[in-house]
Amino acid sequence: MMEQNNIQQFGSGDDEGKAATSASEVLPSGTGETGELVRITGLTKKYGKKTALSNVNLTLEPGRIVGLLGPNGSGKTTLMKILAGTIKDFQGSVTVNGKEIGPETKAIISYLPDTTYHSPWMRPSDMIALFRDFYADFDEQKCRGMLRRLGLDEKQKISTMSKGMMEKFQLCMVMSRNARLYILDEPIGGVDPAARDFILDTILTNYSEDATIFMSTHLISDVERIFDTVIFLKEGEIVLQGDIDNIREKEGKSIDELFREVFKC
């Protein structure tokens, strides 16, 4: 498989093959072409002379929680933006559910960017109306329930909310969809530890078993426990990907420790 080209081995000078985690190990056994949710082939993205992503090959299966890990500038956000359809100028092939990025894929992808995206005039009720109009998989009851749990007034202007509250609100909107693929860009970045628990809890309790969560983060120790699979991205290239238990077992260390080792400055 093509993704094997990018898979490298990291460890502490161990023999080749010890910690190697092939792409086939990422996939649950018995899955084939038809079981793929995301297929990325030869993806390269350049910003001027700088290469953000270099010949990335990746396959994601349904029903996985995938952690996209890497330092700042490693290309995580670029990869997520391409999948979400907010970057269109790239080389290579990207398909979700067998379709190129477009209206059909956007209908099954729920994307949480690393920035706020509401208009200044918007209130939660406006956002709910918009999601109801455009997303067939939007569960309004679930959304209102989550907002009540957060103690949010639907008539309060979003722009008057605190940063943490805004992030929680956006997450509620994103997780209120019964999407096939959730793309979450740094969902716990910039919030306090208590809020992190709320966010992780919201993510874990609001996605269906056959959906895939593709999530980037710097705060590995906080979220390591929820991942099935991790992908290490370094300077635009996938340097490691695999089942989290396999990696832990083979490396004899946590993902957080491995991350610090791989991305040591």
């Binding site: 907010t86 995206y117 208009s119």
Partner: protein, 273 residues
């Protein structure tokens, strides 16, 4: 989805325009009352400046609002919401074209209404309405058609200019142009206008024998002058109607070309920060 997009675009912009309309109308009602205390000659000068001021400020506000409707909604942070909606790029562009044009037409109507209110208050022309009614009485189907065609032509021209502005905005957001992208975006608007004129001129030349009406040619002006005689008025209506149909077709064709360009850029070159 197009209907939902139009609904959402109206919902996101109506507050700004309602404020503008309210300001224009209230200003036009209260200003004449203040001017009643001023010398009549000065009143006329102020009224002239005021009308000009309204026209200029309306144009400036329009450009800002169009920028907001398209540029902010697509290329700023709001783009993360807009560009991840499960809709086609063409639907997004058409929706914004329709809503922008609708607001421009409405602003024009409110501005004219405001100016009429202003003039009516400072100098009531009670005899103008019967005169107007008398003129309309003599109008025939052709004249009414001319009025309708002129209105459609103006709307089509607005669509054309808005589509051109959207394309220029998209060029100004092309990351591959680097730090020159904003000046190049502005320049592209004027370059597109120049190109448009050249194409119209070429089309006029090529189709000259097919009774194409070149409204900017000297022959057209001479012909219009001849028709301004009472016996030529019906003939002039025909000419105007034909010219308007051509103008509408041209505007719609250019709107389509500019919109296709914008959609292509959104579908192939979009890069949100």
């Amino acid at each position: 989805m197009l209907g939902k997009l139009i609904k959402h675009d109206i919902r996101s912009t109506w507050r700004d325009f309602a404020g503008i309309y309210l300001t224009i109308l209230l200003g036009m009602i209260f200003l004449p009352l203040l001017l009643n205390f001023v010398n009549r000659a000065i009143t006329n000068i102020i009224a002239g400046f005021l009308v000009m001021g309204i026209m200029v400020s309306t144009i400036v506000i329009m450009i800002i609002m169009l920028f907001k409707i398209f540029n902010t909604n697509i290329f700023s942070n709001e783009g993360y919401l807009t560009m991840t909606l499960p809709v086609r790029g063409s639907e997004l562009v058409v929706s914004k074209l329709v809503v922008s044009t609708m607001w421009i037409v409405l602003t024009g109507i409110v501005s004219v209404l405001g100016i009429l209110i202003f003039l009516w208050i400072i100098s009531p022309m009670t005899d103008i309405l019967p005169v107007l009614m008398k003129v309309l009485y003599y109008f025939e189907a052709k004249e009414y058609l001319a009025i309708i065609l002129i209105f459609i032509a103006v709307v089509a021209e607005i669509l054309n200019e808005v589509a051109k502005l959207f394309l220029a905005c998209s060029v100004a957001n092309l990351k591959l142009l680097g730090r020159f992208r904003i000046p190049l975006g502005i320049l592209s608007f004027f370059a597109l206008s120049w190109l448009e004129n050249k194409i119209i001129q070429a089309a006029s030349f090529i189709t000259g024998r097919l009774h194409w009406v070149d409204m900017f040619a000297d022959e057209f002006k001479i012909e219009v002058n001849l028709m301004l005689r009472p016996e030529g008025i019906l003939q002039m209506t025909d000419l105007v109607n034909m010219a308007m149909v051509q103008w509408i077709l041209c505007s719609l064709a250019f709107t389509a070309v500019f919109s296709v360009g914008t959609v292509w850029l959104l579908n192939h070159k979009l890069e949100l920060d």
